[in-house]
């Protein structure tokens, strides 16, 4: 009888652990299956690794069990019953806030879960067998021992996940190698010219601009969204490119979270042309210093063929330094700050002047300082940083045989990339400027400038601030606060703690305090927006945080 009840008890714990592992997998996934980052996230709040209601339920169950009979000869059901009820209450998952980024059941995630679940089952059975072997004489001791054993397995759910990942690592590595091999085969068959783009930000936008411009002459494919990792690029090749033999140009965005990553991507997609957009404080906390970021980005130039083309943003000092290293022989620099009259050697080659930002878009003049030609550009895009992105794309297009006029023609029809400064009216007529995808100091400044153009009603900034800027986090967010105070009529911040530097920046300007609104949840901020804004008002949504930062 006792064995049956203990089995039931373990069933509850195991089931609860399986469920908890599944729930935790979402956060592990958001941290890209990096165990260190996941552990740091886990430890940041106690309730994530040591839920209070679980401890309370087990504590109460222990107390009730103690009330049970301790006479060895008689069977007592009370301790077991208390333990089972306690376990049921303990594993009950807490009520969760609605999630913004749901668990993505990829094949890899499924394999990981399966491995973790097997580990859970093994651990549960091992603990059960171990405790059975102790042959406790009283039911009370027996029930409590198994109750606590189960608690241990349950609380260690994150460990099973991490161990599961460790077990699967060689398997995943093998599958990845095969996937990469397949992508290489596809590239070899279709044999397109490869254009690599890197930079702390502006990669995705530049990629989309270049694709739309080049498509006016060549069949051009760009990796979708912001696929910029080895596996993301392989996925794009194996699904999209493998199905389209007509592609002449393949544009690939190459991101770096660690040094060496771009070099590895270049091995898969050796670029004929490389573009470096910006070196900035994005993901600084992972790199340590801007110099390290620059070294990681330079890999895209180092891995060019000697007869390849490098395209550089002259206005960024780190990128200019890359240009000046002198490799490869063919290099084009672009600038929106240099006076073309002062250039005699064709460096930088493409220069934008007379940049005018209006509500309907951007106008500027592009000079080719090598030929002396200059052509006016008009685009429906907003955001001054797009001038640099367009100049970089123009440099490649002209190098590949398009005329400056043809480029200008394509530019006039460009659309902003998905959720990057997209403007649309909501059902009540409030204009929403959406820059929710990724905020960085350069993009944020441009977006605020755009917000400042709207003078018809209230100008509202809603943001949780910028993240992953490392040691520059406070400084850059403070600056954001100052800029916002100059432009916006209302500032809505999400997350009192993490937006402290922005608040300080806003307050330092003497911005009216009653126009600064601080909420802890995105939902509350959106509720404020629904309750307070009407037709004619403009809202800038700046940066959207993953759940790991708000939960």
């Amino acid at each position: 009888m006792s064995l049956l009840l203990i089995a039931l008890l373990w069933l509850v714990w195991t089931g609860g652990t399986v469920w908890r592992v599944y729930k935790q997998a979402r956060y592990y996934q958001i941290e890209e299956y990096k165990s260190g980052r996941y552990a740091r996230w886990l430890l940041r709040e106690r309730s994530r690794w040591l839920p209070m209601h679980t401890l309370a339920a087990v504590g109460l169950a222990v107390i009730f069990s103690l009330l049970g009979d301790s006479v060895p000869s008689d069977f007592s059901a009370l301790p077991y019953t208390a333990a089972i009820i306690g376990a049921v209450l303990a594993v009950r998952p807490p009520r969760e806030a609605p999630v913004k980024k749901a668990f993505n059941a990829t094949d890899r995630a499924k394999r990981l879960l399966a491995a973790a679940w097997v580990l859970v089952a093994l651990a549960a059975f091992g603990a059960f067998a171990l405790l059975q072997a102790q042959a406790f004489t009283s039911d009370r001791a027996n029930a409590i021992a198994h109750l606590l054993g189960g608690l241990g397995v349950f609380l260690l759910a994150p460990l099973w996940l991490v161990l599961g990942n460790a077990v699967m690592t060689p398997v995943e590595a093998m599958l990845r190698r095969r996937f990469v091999q397949k992508a290489k085969g596809v590239l070899k068959t279709i044999n397109p010219k490869i254009i690599g783009i890197t930079g702390s930000y502006g990669k995705t936008t530049t990629k989309h601009f270049l694709r739309d411009i080049l498509n006016g002459r060549y069949k051009t494919y760009a990796t979708p969204k912001s696929y910029n990792t080895m596996m993301g690029i392989c996925l794009a090749i194996n699904t999209d490119l493998a199905d389209d033999y007509s592609v002449e140009y393949f544009i690939s965005e190459m991101g770096a979270y660690i040094p060496g990553e771009i070099a590895r991507i270049c091995e898969l997609t050796p670029p004929d042309i490389s573009i470096v957009v910006e070196v900035g404080p994005q993901h600084l906390e992972r790199f340590g210093s801007l110099e390290n970021v620059a070294i990681a980005k330079y890999e895209i130039i180092k891995n060019l063929r000697p007869d390849g083309l490098g395209v550089f943003n002259w206005d960024n000092l780190y990128v200019r330094a890359m240009h000046d290293k002198g490799y490869p022989a063919k290099r084009i620099a672009v600038s929106k700050t240099v006076d073309p009259a002062s250039i005699s050697d064709g460096v930088p080659r493409f220069v934008a002047t007379d940049i005018v930002l209006t509500v309907t878009g951007l106008t500027f003049t592009v000079h080719d300082t090598q030929t002396g030609a200059s052509v006016p550009f008009v685009t429906p895009l907003v955001g001054e940083h797009n001038v640099t992105n367009l100049l970089l794309a123009t440099a490649v297009a002209v190098h590949e045989g398009m005329t400056l006029e043809a480029v200008a023609q394509r530019v006039s029809r460009l659309q902003p990339a998905e959720s990057r400064l997209v403007r649309q009216h909501d059902e009540r007529g409030v204009l929403i400027i959406n820059d929710a995808y990724s905020a960085n100091p350069v993009g944020a400044k441009s977006a605020l400038e755009v917000l400042g153009l709207y003078q018809s009603g209230r100008r509202v900034l809603i943001t949780p601030g910028m993240i992953e800027l490392g040691e520059l986090h406070d400084q850059e967010n403070h600056r954001l606060g100052v800029l916002a105070a100059q432009v916006a009529t209302d500032i809505v911040l999400v997350g009192a703690k993490q937006t402290a530097p922005i608040q300080a920046g806003v307050r330092s300007t003497g911005f009216p305090v009653d126009r600064l609104h601080i909420f802890d949840h995105t939902q509350d901020a959106l509720a404020w927006y629904r309750a307070n804004l009407t037709r004619g008002d403009t809202v800038l949504l700046l940066n959207d945080l993953p759940d790991t930062y708000t939960n």
């Binding site: 590239l187 070899k188 068959t189 279709i190 044999n191 010219k193 490869i194 498509n215 006016g216 002459r217 060549y218 069949k219 199905d243 389209d244 033999y245 007509s246 050796p270 004929d272 063929r305 045989g401 043809a406 023609q409 029809r413």
Partner: protein, 400 residues
Amino acid sequence: MTNSRKTTIAVLFGGRSVEHDVSIVTAQQLMRAMPDSYHVLPVYISREGKWYTGDALRTLENFKDERITSRPDVQPVLLSPDVRHHGFIVNPLASGWFKKPQVQRVDVLFPAVHGTHGEDGTLQGLFELADIPYVGFATLGSALTNDKIMTKQVLRQAGIRVVDDVHFSRAEWQRDADSTMARIKDMLPYPVFVKPATLGSSIGVGRADNDQLLRASIEVALGFDRRVLVESAVTQSVEINCSVIGYGQELQASVLEQPLSWSDFLAFEDKYLRGSKGMQSQARVIPAPLAPELSAHIQEIAKRAFQAVDGRGITRVDFLVRPEQGEVFLNELNTLPGSLAFYLWEASGVPAGELIDRLVRYAREAYAEKRASVYDYKNALLSVATTSGTKGAKGSKTRA
């Protein structure tokens, strides 16, 4: 990709046309002259219109064997109109462990098919669907120059002198041959030439200097085509040919040639098959012995004609010239001249390899220009129709 980025060129030849054999000879010359920077994929279209590929098709000798298409190294192939294949599907119907349909991507298509189903725009239509750069005239120019009646109308419009003619259809002739005869005699003095409207070479062409011969020639010509034209013969004239290559504003005319085989009658055998070595051994004088001003004038007309018919790539423009009077009549345009007029271009300082390079470049330019004028125009129609459709459904639900 340090391995070679060779341009793959498919050379299409043969074809469902009376000029099937000529095309094989042209294609072999072309493939032999192809510079090393290209990888060649031979695509042979049989007399019956079956498509094949395989390296055996690169050797002229192999074509002496009737069963060339059943060799194990020759496989069926299909030019896919689906843009994503950007080329051919080898063994399209194969199924089995060792034989599977395979996509063979190509960069540029080089049609070397003469005449019907080759020079008349039909093949080019398929190329357009496949969205692959191709050498030579596009659909419109091919279809137009393939039709002698339409070509002459367009050339007249462009101020280029052509020989007077009368044209009519088979139905008109059958309904009332006598009045058609009367119309011809009213308009044109004997001797005249009778030509089918769309056939290349000289097949079905007849010369007549009396009524009886004229009627007979018309009957013959109507056996080859639905429409026929009768042209007055240009007496005391010499035939002069000039090739033009180019695209857009970049045009170049070759030196002129004067074929010597011009006699009373343009016999098919005479035009293509004299001697054992095919076309190249045809007797000709290069450059044609004309006054320099007249030569320049002819070259100018050739270039104007090229533009008038929306030409691109290469053509050979054939003229009838009366040197003493300085009169120049444009006779016809060949969008795929035999041997690709290699001999004319070599004499003009453009060796075959360079000629091919330029033709490929023009093909790519034309394709790029096509891309520039096509925009992905996403119509809101579908999404609007879908939303209003849903709304409609909702509405009826609430009413019910």
